[in-house]
Symmetry: C2
């Protein structure tokens, strides 16, 4: 952490953007924030802007890669079936009292690359189960939340292995500031414009109201049925507490809920997926009636198969998202090994839990109603990239007629 040379003005701009545009933090709202210890300089500025915005109490929960590794190296076997449920239950209670949630990502994406995949799988599963009270309040969008990134040194070294730690971190910082539109005079204003562009795309898709999408490209021939009454969303969004927030910074996607029982065909990933420390590459799966019936990967296949066995819903889709190949993150040519960025470089799908907000009409659909409309339920939600400049997408209406949505990776 020594000698960090990141423009402090830009750190402050990112913090301000996260508090105002990302969270839309309201006077009196508490804020629960998770971050790597390394991100302390950013956390400090977030605390300042949050309190200036009238925050009640800012509670940061810090993590550290070496502390995580200490567990994998030294803990006895039984440790890997444990999770801090007391903490996650508490976070769920705080959300019920309208606390906002911010997550800063920045850890080494390959932290656990050399650890036992059985331990990783069990630890992730235990954590997913315990995290449910917090997660379901986020997926139901009860409260305003936001994810941003800090250029962690180990992460930066993964992306730029040829550079020194300081140089790599500085380069990643620039990439984050670029992608997050912080490298502009007025990031908050830039995001207003950007949100308007995404809103228009959603409006168009919602008016067309396709029954399904047909993805076509090398190794991919997939028909993704859309949930009954699905709604396309993207950029700024209103949480159930009435607060408008931008959950992801950056974000280039529009997304909706697929039909969990109505996905058929084959699809391959177009970018590696970095999942909780393991890298999964060249995924190829086959869907039948919504369920993955076969799956392989050239790298990390064991981790992938464990993910698919997390629960019944883990083999079905919870999200489909459209991102043009001309998106700034795609054009940067960088692979971030981090979903927050890489999902904004290409169209993608997500295994697991759907966003219950992605339905038209009434605000609070019951779990039963969501399921009836085709919304998937799971304790996981894992995005992976299936878009590229070779992908065509057709929208299919209920009468079988087709509309060009994407051609060669771009909006048609």
């Amino acid at each position: 952490m020594a000698n960090v040379r990141i423009d402090s003005e830009k750190i402050d701009k990112l913090a301000q953007l996260a508090v105002y545009t990302g969270l839309g933090l309201q006077p009196g709202q508490d804020l629960i924030l998770t971050a790597p210890v390394e991100a302390l300089p950013l956390v400090k500025r977030i605390a300042v802007h949050a309190y200036k915005a009238g925050a009640g109490l800012v509670t940061p929960l810090f993590s550290d890669g070496e502390l995580t590794l200490a567990r994998y190296k030294y803990a006895n076997n039984a440790s890997f079936d444990k999770a801090p449920d007391w903490l996650y239950n508490g976070i769920g209670k705080a959300f019920d009292n309208n606390a906002a949630r911010m997550a800063i990502v920045g850890d080494d994406p390959m932290l656990l690359a050399n650890q036992d995949s059985d331990k990783i799988g069990r630890a992730n599963k235990a954590n997913s189960i315990a995290y449910k009270p917090a997660r379901e309040r986020i997926t139901r969008f009860n409260i305003n939340w936001n994810i941003i990134a800090w250029p962690g040194v180990a992460w930066a070294k993964r992306m730029f292995p040829e550079l020194s730690g300081i140089e790599a971190q500085s380069k990643l910082a620039d990439a984050i500031f670029d992608a997050s539109r912080v490298n502009t005079t007025d990031p908050v204003e830039e995001w207003k414009k950007h949100n308007e562009v995404l809103r228009k795309k959603c409006k168009w898709l919602n008016e067309l109201d396709f029954a399904s999408l047909h993805f076509n490209g090398p190794g991919t021939d997939l028909i993704v049925g859309l949930a009954d009454g699905h709604e396309w969303m993207g950029g700024a969004s209103i949480a159930q507490n009435g607060i408008t927030c931008n959950p992801n910074i950056p974000s280039e996607e529009v997304f909706t809920t697929p039909h969990a029982l109505n996905v058929n065909g084959s699809v391959c990933s177009t970018k590696p997926l970095s999942h909780q420390g393991a890298l999964i590459d060249e995924i190829q799966v086959r869907f039948e009636n919504g369920k993955i019936t076969s799956a392989k990967a050239s790298k990390g296949e064991e981790v992938l198969l464990k993910i698919l066995d997390s629960d019944e819903g883990a083999r079905r889709l919870g999200e489909v998202a459209l991102v043009p190949n001309s998106s700034p993150i795609s054009q940067s040519g960088l692979l971030f090994y981090n979903t927050l960025f890489d999902e904004n470089a290409a169209c993608h799908i997500a295994l697991g839990q759907c966003y219950s907000k992605c339905f038209k009409g009434e605000e609070n659909l019951s779990e039963k109603e969501i399921s009836k409309r085709g919304g998937n339920s799971s304790m996981i939600h894992i995005d992976w990239m299936i878009g590229s400049r070779h992908i065509d997408i057709d929208g299919i209406n209920s009468d079988g007629s087709r509309v060009a949505v994407f051609r060669k990776g771009e909006w048609a």
Copy 2:
């Protein structure tokens, strides 16, 4: 945090001592750990030793002085009546599931010195109330717990303002290692010997079973009645979960529960008290029938008066402790501005909550029974020093006869 130059072998020895002697951590036990972010190098070694000892899950909760200050500088007024009750309730639940507790102190003791005392008082009160579920499990000694120290730079600069940050930190590190008996070949073995010395003093006092203690010295003429069936304790102690731990590292004191209704006379402090960022010096109080009826201080009087108004029990004693003036911490001549150290340099008393473990006989006294025996109840527990090389202490038996306990600050 750049360029920390603290002997990594000693950091590791302190971590090992804290896990084995401090906590007596048992296989399968979870550990909840609070620490300043700055203490990360020590936290990392604690995690390693905890997992090696068979810990289930180590959950660190980090704090940072600048984050605390951001609240005082920028938060709106209503913020200061808030506390993270969701977090403290969760910690209480974790304790009910036998999680152990470690606290690493190391923050700037004068962090809040220039902040509004009304805000400090309200924030402390809100925090004390919310922290009750966690605190009462510690004061009832339900689980094994331990406090150790990290040489924070700002703390070190308060103690050694004439030195550079690095030099001051290095000097404080040495003082901590000395006081904690880590500057020895085998700290765990040294603590076994030290615990035996303290055990013998307790045995002597418990056999004599005084009705009260009479403190006599410059500005002090105080008779502290002892609770009915009080027990003297010190050093290693057995928690209600059956685990032997050393709650404080360092620790030179033997202590017991005074009678909340039976303290009379005047007493003055002999060292400054650093309380949650404010310094309180030259305290002079008068007790009548156990209750402080007048109080003043040359510095921080406002903070002191707020403390006394925390609740009904805040004006009564919950602890009396004996420490000879020849204790290594006293002989170091250093004022640490931190109770963990300074209370081990002199005899002291504590306002507020008593330790319910400090009673002979049955393990689980009810609150009512504790109160009947004279044990005090409060949401605060604040130690301050009344001992010096000028202090004499007599033990008074129920028939009025006297035994010399201390003469000129030393065991008689």
